[in-house]
Subunit: 394 residues, 2 copies
């Protein structure tokens, strides 16, 4: 594929590879096998819904990365990766979901051809797309190799975003604003939840002007009432009801980059407890954004929020956010740092997080969140612009 | 959750468990740990977009299954599983995507509490949601257990659908017809692909009458022209062009059940080679459906198709289909049998497959597929009703 068609410039891809190789060297890894689709895309540009079969990127210490996957998806590799076609390899279709063959047997052949059968090979042990079986077959095929757990090695390199990436996230943010406003507009007593979701999806995929919408890595999460006390239930065909809060956890997506955003809608007159929680939450978010400064730590963001909440007699436990950017299903989080009391990652300009200090109560949930960008000086910037409050439709 | 709210009747769930236990017994498994979200839902009803963190179902040889996952998702378990709340367990949030703790440490505690630390434990070695790391931690935690590869053990029990399941698939099929017709209607020279996809998604989620649309396990696959030679590329914002074929691989979804369907649209005047291929493909599908009879084998379907193709001087290699029904991302296939020359699974009434004899050529792709139901007598039934042809919009 001509580099002009790639999502990013060649110097950008080269810089990513240089960063990754430095991390490999530090970890004592000669050859890295990357299965996380986000990491594959970040290094090579590969983009397709083909991660349900085994595929990955081999990154040696020199030369171009090598994309490897199912034969028919190697065609997709040629249409989306920036490397020369020599570095895109497909395996035969009878390896696919076979009970007698495993694609890792084919991959092992490529590793032997690279002369790396005795190398220190980094694998992403904790990844959706590197199964227990894949590891068992690969290690059996390469008895002289030493396997090193390289979980999140590439993800950590992605933590500070480049200017090109931030531009994509800002585009995604325009779509996020649109989908959240659509959700608020369409919510009404008696409207079926799936019809609201259909409008949200339509708004997200049409996008904003020339910012066309890609698919977010998570479907709209839109639970109401008691279902909203469970964070990850999806919709059904039941009508929205008077007296219920519904939270909308949504993200726009532009060329696989996300900017998640949540707002909560209350139909009818909210109880005083919800209004009190709203006040505490909004004040807490302001304090947290002020603490989200370069040089501070991720835990400082969490602690700033919980301090305000405590002042209001409320308590929030659990994780309050994660880095975001490039992602594929099933998660739009980057799975490296976390915004939580025990995480001490130092904040740097260019980091982007979904800060989500959701309050899940016994009988309702209140989600007001922001995608934030750590800046050179001063507090974090919220990249989306939607009023920060509980939306009441009475 | 009251059983009336469950997707299926209690006798249906009990029958599924009985079938699974018989398979466990045959495989010498005392305790099964199920991570495939589709298998979890099939056994317990659990339904939520929470599979991006570790969760699963423990099925002992007696008593109810046990759903286990993140604390906040245990709330979702209580709202979607049919078992008593005693059998729904959550782990603490500091296990989530932690660099120092792993949820499998918590799961091992539950297995010890069941007295099964020395049991023969079945695990789904080849599953997106059972990572190499999860297996490493679990086996380390339970050194006296014997681990047995139970990949697809539950999936095979799902191959023959119950009447209740077939009713769901028929509902999904109504939505599939609607989304395919929407795609054909909206396709036109100059229309941005993402705008077509937005209409498809809107049509799919609004559904048909009271058949509300759930999210399909794969996003719309809609490549045009040269991109259509690569099977799994997703859309972008480029306008559709004169002289290009676009295939639409779509599925309606009703309460997680699918009925995938593909049709191809040609804008302008198609080349004779495409028309010839269309003729061969349609004739081949008819022959294949006729061969898809109870008592025949999956390979008979594939061979019937390729024989017709050969008569027309065309060749088709690779897998031509897979069982479908209940599914979660990233795949709507069931990952047990395959429709291909080397697969000898005996067809039984109630089996449902996505039969997809797609022709991917050097410069274009032609996908015309059907979701088929194996009947008591006679050829397979195509559960969707959309004309089987290349749709030409000139």
């Amino acid at each position: 594929m001509p580099i002009e068609n790639a999502a990013f410039s060649l110097p950008e891809y080269k810089a990513r590879i240089a960063k990754t190789r430095a991390a490999m060297e530090k970890a004592g890894i000669d050859l890295l096998f990357v299965t996380d689709p986000s990491n594959q895309a970040w290094l090579t540009g590969y983009d397709g819904w083909s991660f349900y079969v085994h595929q990955g990127v081999l990154l040696p210490m020199e030369g171009e990365p090598i994309w490897w996957g199912r034969g028919m998806d190697a065609q997709g590799g040629k249409r989306t990766c920036w490397m020369s076609f020599d570095n895109i390899h497909g395996y035969a279709d009878n390896y696919v979901q076979s009970t007698v063959r495993h694609p890792m047997q084919d991959l092992a052949g490529h590793i032997r051809r690279l002369g790396s059968e005795g190398a220190r090979i980094g694998v992403e042990m904790e990844n959706y797309y590197y199964s227990a079986k894949a590891h068992a077959v690969l290690t059996e095929e390469l008895p002289n190799a030493t396997f090193v757990d390289a979980t999140a090695l590439v993800n950590w390199q992605r933590l500070v975003k480049s200017g090109e990436e931030i531009a994509f996230i800002r585009k995604a943010a325009r779509i996020s604003e649109k989908v959240i406003r659509t959700a608020i507009d369409k919510s009404a007593v008696g409207v079926r939840k799936n019809d609201v979701v259909a409008e949200i999806m339509h708004a997200g995929i049409t996008g904003v002007d020339d910012i066309w919408g890609d698919y977010p890595a998570i479907v709209p999460l839109t639970p109401s009432g008691l279902d909203a006390t469970a964070a990850h239930l999806t919709w059904n065909g039941a009508p929205m009801k008077e007296g219920e809060a519904t939270f909308f956890e949504l993200s726009g997506c532009y060329r696989r980059y996300h900017a998640p955003l949540c707002r909560t809608v209350f139909l009818g007159k909210p109880p005083q407890s919800a209004l009190d929680a709203e006040k505490a939450q909004v004040e807490g978010i302001e304090a947290a954004l002020d603490a989200a400064r370069a040089g501070n730590r991720t835990c400082d963001i969490a602690n700033a929020f919980t301090s305000v909440l405590a002042k209001h007699g409320l308590k929030k436990e659990g994780r309050m956010g994660y880095p975001i950017g490039l992602s594929y299903p099933p998660d739009w989080g980057e799975r490296s740092a976390s915004i939580r009391a025990e995480d001490q990652t130092i904040l740097e300009p260019g980091m982007t997080f979904h800060f989500m200090p959701a309050l899940w109560m016994d009988t309702w949930g209140l989600e007001t969140t922001e995608t934030i960008l750590i800046t050179e000086n001063g507090p974090a910037e919220a990249v989306c612009n939607v009023e920060r409050k509980l939306f009441v439709k009475d």
